[in-house]
């Protein structure tokens, strides 16, 4: 299993399990290429075709697909893929301690809405774990949407990932991390921001 990061009661991240792997590093981008610009590699970048779609073996990964879970197969915790409707779990959450939400691609934001609905609409209070294409630069957003556990994709630098949760000391809007919108606490937030600067 890849590295699992969790948030403690104070929403501080810690490594909760899994094996640390060395972070993926490719050759540095030479900023002096192409007349002093660092974009030579960018400009020639062409997205590769993704090929045949392979169904993921969720049970091997430790989860039950939502459809089977709803049909009564509770041997493993449920996992929601992007097309699954989290509202189907309404009335079925008693005793559920772990729900996984899959990000097949980090750039597909459906799992963020699934998490927000589970937390805000259904009031789910157990562990909500992001799995799949889970990487450093999405962790802050995921945590705000209600995730409190993150199964990092292979090749991620764990120390870097732990830093992601403090990318921002302040936010504007309410999401699913318990913070009120800024306009309901502007006075105290301004005092804190002045101290931080």
């Amino acid at each position: 299993m890849s590295v699992l990061i969790k948030l403690d009661a104070a929403r501080k991240p810690f490594v909760a399990g899994g094996e640390a792997q060395s972070a993926a590093v490719s050759a540095p981008v030479d900023v002096n290429v192409d007349g002093g610009r660092g974009d030579a590699r960018l400009a020639t970048y062409v997205k590769k075709p993704t090929g045949e779609k392979v169904e993921k073996d969720w049970r091997a990964a430790g989860y039950t697909p939502l459809k089977d879970w709803l049909a009564g197969d509770h041997a493993l915790p449920p996992v929601l893929v992007a097309t699954d409707d989290p509202l189907l779990l309404e009335g079925n959450l008693d005793g559920v301690r772990l729900i996984a939400v899959d990000f097949a691609k980090f750039s597909d934001g459906r799992g963020l809405s699934s998490a927000a609905l589970l937390r805000k609409r259904l009031g789910y209070a157990g562990e909500l774990r992001a799995v799949g294409d889970v990487a450093r630069d999405q962790l802050f957003q995921m945590a705000r949407c209600g995730f409190d556990a993150f199964e990092l994709r292979d090749g991620q630098d764990v120390d870097d990932a732990l830093k992601a949760f403090s990318d921002y000391g302040e936010v504007y809007q309410d999401a699913a991390d318990g913070r009120a919108p800024i306009f309901r606490r502007r006075g105290e937030a301004n005092a804190a921001a002045e101290n931080a600067s």
Binding site: G109, S113, Q173, S197
Partner: protein, 552 residues
Amino acid sequence: MYRYDAVDQRIVNERVAQFRDQTARFLAGRLSEDEFKPLRLQNGLYIQRHAPMLRVAIPYGMLSSKQLRMLAHIAREYDRNYAHFTTRQNLQYNWPALDRVPDILADLATVEMHAIQTSGNCIRNVTTDHFAGVAADEIVDPRPYAEMMRQWSTLHPEFAYLPRKFKVAFNGAKDDRAASAVHDLAFDVYKGADGEVLLRVKVGGGQGRTPRIAVTIKEDLPWRHMLTYTEAILRAYNRYGRRDNLYKARIKILVEALGAEKFAEEAESDFVHLIDGPATLTEEERTRITACFVDPEYLSDSEAKADLAPLRAANRRFDAWLRRNVVAHKRAGYASVTLSLKRTGPAPGDATDAEIDAAADLADRFSFGEARISHHQNIILADVARKDLFDLWQAADDAGLAQPNIGLATDIIACPGGDFCSLANAKSIPLSLAIQNELEARQEEIGELAIKISGCINACGHHHVGHIGVIGVDKHGEEWFQVLVGGRSDANVTLGEILGKAVKAEEVPPLIARLVDLYLAERREGERFIDTAARLGADRFKAVAYPDKAAA
């Protein structure tokens, strides 16, 4: 205008630090291009034909003179001494070096500016009427609502990876100058019988490959529910918008597929859970933000007014400028002035560092130190005392910003096109110059005419809503253009009709001249081009556009 408090400044500073770190990790090979791409796009950084392009946000088009000077400074320090004002009230730099972009962002942050969400599949820069707060026909000043939306949408964690980009516009006037009907989400702001501010919610408008007029899904929404209703709309879009096809991913396709009624039901079903929740806006916050948009200390009408008749009679250029570039203000002693960025020669919307500095000086001298950018790619000085108009005209003329062409044939809207943009099929800039040259001599005779040019189907040049629209298409690797007639983006929004097959670039100016000839021959007293076009119908224009076909 809105000024940052410590919270706003902290968030922008943290965004600079975050992007600096992301850029450093990319350059060090620790972040793949695949991963870096959406991150840089969410911060306005594209990779274009020649270099990265950085798009800077100008929230609802408002700028201070200090911010203008910083934009000029960045053009000098990091770019090639010019910048481009866009059709979304933003500004683009065409030649920044990738590894210096974090420094540009740090400079911007010192004047309360940023590049957050100026690109990417997220909620983009909020836009509104460039005459907001000063227009004589305004019902409600939309800027406080636009600012509350800006804050709520900035770095919203749930809507950072939408199916596609999402543009929000506000209109608070009788005449819709914000082109609100061609936005993914738009609000008309107005007052109910008891004086309460209400919102009309429109979704699914847009240009691009599938142009659509937004449909109203909610009337009379009290302003307090603006954010919760928006959250419901965005959640529906985030969950159900198509992600399998880039060209069918905008919310307009979802609204059309479900039907507006079904889409509204879906949004309402979520809204009932959010209504009166924590994101419900407070009177305290509205008061705090509205205080940033109060009137400046205007002179009394008698102090500000002037009899301009003798100067007009003595100076024909000043007279033409007054007629074209100066519009009425809500106060009789004041006027709003447009500084034209549509010189025959430079690309529409381009300005040099010296010109941007000059505009800042003019804003300081004549308009309380503030300026606006219009989606027509010009600079507006919104609050000029009428007694200062002649002095302003002379100073603007010295700076090369006083072309008396606002709303005329040479006030062309154009995207950067194939000279810069890697998406474009065709070059918009040389074509706009050729059209300017074709029509400049008789533009006064022609009167109001909005020509809008896009280099490709993505419609950054708003060709669907041009009185005359032009769009570049690719034919076997060659640049060709289609011409449309009859579009408009005002309160009577209409999409233009394509006249026929594409023609080569050199055939476009004479073709447009024939359309104009038909208008001049057929116009009735007081009719503008768009009025005559609506009355005659597109077929008459097709016949003159393609005379050989008509003869055959």
